[in-house]
Symmetry: C2
Subunit: 137 residues, 2 copies
């Protein structure tokens, strides 16, 4: 810490994000799952039949990128598409049994990284961090 750029919040944020993202990526790689894939699995498990647009917003991806990732997930048999019931333009995604199974296998990995961070920072710092980050959006 002594370059000019690390006094900028955007940089500190990018650096912390990179560190956390890389460590999560590495942990999930052993199970052959990408971080964003996990987000989709987890989101769909909690609320099935999410549309592509809403999902893209939640999992922090641009729509075209999500479309392509979902193509891959369909090929792997993790999810399947279904035309929207009331609005035919929409596409609803649902987990397959394999998708649910994969999610269950991998959830623990994400949780333990999260717990590691929590115990590193401490309960109150985590709350503070969440509060501050929330205000940046």
């Amino acid at each position: 810490m002594k370059n000019p750029i690390d006094s900028y919040i955007s940089y500190t944020l990018a650096a912390a994000h990179r560190a956390v993202h890389q460590s999560l990526t590495a942990a999930l790689k052993e199970h052959g799952v990408q971080v964003e894939v996990w987000r989709v699995l987890e989101t769909l498990d909690a609320e099935p039949s999410q549309t592509m647009g809403e999902l893209a917003r939640i999992v922090l991806m641009n729509p075209p990128t999500l479309t392509k990732m979902v193509d891959r997930m369909v090929m792997e048999g993790l999810v399947h598409r279904q035309a929207g019931k009331t609005d035919q333009r929409q596409v609803n995604l649902m987990l397959t049994d394999l998708g649910r199974k994969r999610m269950a296998q991998v959830r623990g990995v994400v949780q333990s990284q999260d717990e590691a961070i929590c115990s590193l920072l401490g309960e109150s710092e985590v709350a503070k961090l969440n509060n501050i980050l929330g205000r940046l959006m």
Copy 2:
């Protein structure tokens, strides 16, 4: 805020990072400069003759990605490479006059986004945020 995944720190961090990164990208786009390009310019201005490896670490990029971005920057006339003096394997990067000029043009853009964030959060929150983020690496 009510999906299962936004209780994870990795997710909140990614979301905040995305928001800040996108807004900075948009602001810099008007000047035809990528966020990472700006980081290189700023870093080299403060300490010239940085090596590729060290620069990659600082600007948060993988070495092959940096090599290609620097190729582009050389084509645009922003920087030039020079073989390392003591260690011939190393490559030292230096700003050209145009590179310095370009940096001066865009620095204000980055600073004003940073100031906007600072005034949004307040002095003490910014300090707290930097402190917490620093502990994640």
